[in-house]
């Protein structure tokens, strides 16, 4: 009945199951009747304009925001019911959400990803140090380990936050606008890295407003503007009328290689 049933044919029980999820802050509806199933190994980009509820959708999955209506299952459990399952989710939040002048090194930030797993009253073990080193190797920042985060470039910083998520050995990776404040070349290589992780079997949900670029690195696209506007393979969704409708303004597409690019004419 929904388009996403096609994707659900992949093996294994779904990693994420959202059914008719609504979120309202006071009287403002931020998410309206969103249903989404993410099977293991999928990589989806959630696209939409500012204020479309993209971050809120991630926060619902993480259990940081409780939906006003509908049901949420992640790894078969409700967010309130997740204990050990929390470890299976890696999260890369928007870069603006932390103090970038905080006096910590890249290595310490990556180690923080393990703190929940290490537990109270304990110090990081050899296994924790190994996991941190491995995560930094995977994203290629071993040479930056001792550098204070204040002295990293935007692209390097995002790799540190990605390594922090990976250090916890997650099966599901949620990324919120990972290329904000990152120059074009670095964001290209960040997407390459994510694509590599996806090929290694990582389930991935990526929030962006960066329509054209994202689409060439993911398997599916979800268009969100409070409601789920469209859901499907990038080349299907990005050619549709629905995108223009979603952005609520004049939009036009031009085809460039495999993936159509979107040009949005903003007001002003």
């Amino acid at each position: 009945m929904h388009e996403h049933n096609k994707a659900a044919q992949q093996a294994g029980p779904p990693i994420i199951e959202l059914q008719n999820v609504s979120v309202a802050f006071q009287d403002i509806l931020v998410l309206d009747d969103v249903s989404l199933t993410v099977p293991p190994g999928a990589s989806l980009a959630i696209l939409g304009p500012n204020g479309a509820g993209k971050t809120t959708l991630l926060q619902v999955i993480l259990g940081l925001v409780r939906p006003t209506g509908g049901s949420v299952r992640v790894f078969g459990r409700t967010p309130a019911d997740m204990r050990q399952e929390k470890r299976r989710i890696g999260y890369v939040p928007q870069v603006m959400s932390v103090d970038l002048n905080f006096p910590v090194s890249a290595r310490e930030v990556v180690m923080m990803g393990r703190y929940g797993r290490i537990g109270l009253y304990r110090r990081p073990s050899r296994a924790d140090h190994d996991a941190v080193r491995l995560a930094m190797e995977r994203v290629g920042i071993c040479d930056l380990a001792e550098r204070p985060i204040a002295r990293l470039s935007g692209g390097q910083r995002q790799r540190v936050f990605l390594a922090r998520a990976l250090a916890n050995e997650p099966e599901l990776l949620l990324l919120d606008e990972p290329t904000t404040g990152v120059d074009a070349a670095s964001s290209e290589s960040l997407y390459e890295l994510l694509h590599h992780l996806y090929k290694g079997g990582m389930t991935m949900l990526l929030v962006s407003h960066d329509v054209g670029v994202v689409a060439s690195y993911v398997q599916g696209v979800v268009c969100l503007n409070r409601r789920l506007v469209a859901h499907g393979r990038p080349e299907e969704v990005l050619g549709s009328e629905q995108l223009a409708q979603m952005y609520g303004c004049e939009a036009m597409f031009f085809h460039h290689g495999r993936v159509p690019h979107l040009v949005v004419e903003r007001d002003r």
Binding site: L64, F102, P103, M112, R114, Y115, A150
Partner: protein, 274 residues
């Protein structure tokens, strides 16, 4: 100068000063990095209400101040996390009302001879043997709690949302942190005073922040600056016959000024960031 070390009151004040310098600096690192300065100031002013309550009930005012400050800290924490009221508004509400409560209580107790000025601005002469014991016990309690939850406190201070996501009890750690602020304030009111303690909570840590980009080194530098300000300020206040709290705070501010001038952070940011 050495002869003043022979006085018992001065020995007590100096030991208390050193403990306060350490505790304020350690907790101050979290306060500065998480932006809790205003909460610190609010809790500090609330301690005045607790002191007044102690006098009225006939207990050691420092002990009633602990209960009072802790209740205020939790009140601010609950209002700002459970309701839609913002943190600084919550502080604003508690800040004035607890102080007003203290003033009201004291006005009811005419005839009592209370060293109000000492509680507000600190006094070297005020540290009794019992006060010193309380200061040391609270000081050790605060440092033990920081040591036990060191990594969680750092994570929650840096990125509370991410801490919660990875299974760190971020909400509880936040309440632990504001409880530590309350304990620290109470530990310090005898020497520095309710009005000025928030400065000692912030200034040494803020100075240390200028000097290093490493969390542990920042804490170590803050401790050195905090103890230097407290002990140095006490000796100066004796020499100059000035109120101890004011002298300590002004000395720590002077140290902050020097730190800001020689700060590698500042020089780097002046060289130009995008």
């Amino acid at each position: 100068m050495t002869e003043i070390l022979g006085y018992a009151f001065m020995q007590r004040a100096l030991v208390a000063g050193a403990v306060i310098g350490i505790v304020c600096a350690v907790v101050g690192v979290y306060v500065v990095l998480k932006g809790l300065s205003f909460i610190g100031a609010g809790i500090a002013h609330a301690s005045f209400g607790g002191v007044a309550l102690g006098f009225l009930l006939g207990f050691n005012p420092v002990l009633t101040a602990v209960v009072f400050c802790m209740a205020t800290a939790w009140g601010i924490g609950l209002v700002s996390t459970r309701t839609k009221i913002k943190e600084d508004t919550a502080v604003g509400i508690f800040f004035a009302s607890t102080m007003a409560f203290g003033i009201l209580l004291i006005s009811l107790m005419r005839g009592y001879n209370i060293d109000l000025f000492g509680y507000l601005f600190g006094s070297i002469l005020a540290v009794s043997a019992q006060d010193l014991r309380i200061t040391i016990i609270f000081g050790i309690a605060v440092l033990l709690l920081v040591a036990l939850f060191f990594k969680e406190l750092m994570f929650v201070t840096f990125d509370a949302e991410m801490a919660a996501v990875t299974g760190v009890p971020a909400g509880k750690i936040y309440f632990l942190l504001i409880s530590l602020v309350a304990l620290t304030v109470v530990t310090s009111i005898k020497v520095v005073g309710a009005v000025l303690v928030s400065a000692l909570l912030v200034t040494p840590a803020a100075a240390a922040y200028q000097l290093t980009e490493d969390f542990r080194r920042m804490m170590a530098a803050a401790v050195l600056l905090g103890v230097g300000s407290a002990v140095g300020g006490l000796l100066l206040s004796y020499k100059l016959d000035t109120p101890s709290g004011a002298t300590i705070v002004l000395l720590s501010t002077a140290l902050y000024g020097i730190a800001a001038l020689i700060s590698p952070r500042r020089r780097r940011s002046r060289r130009g960031r995008t």
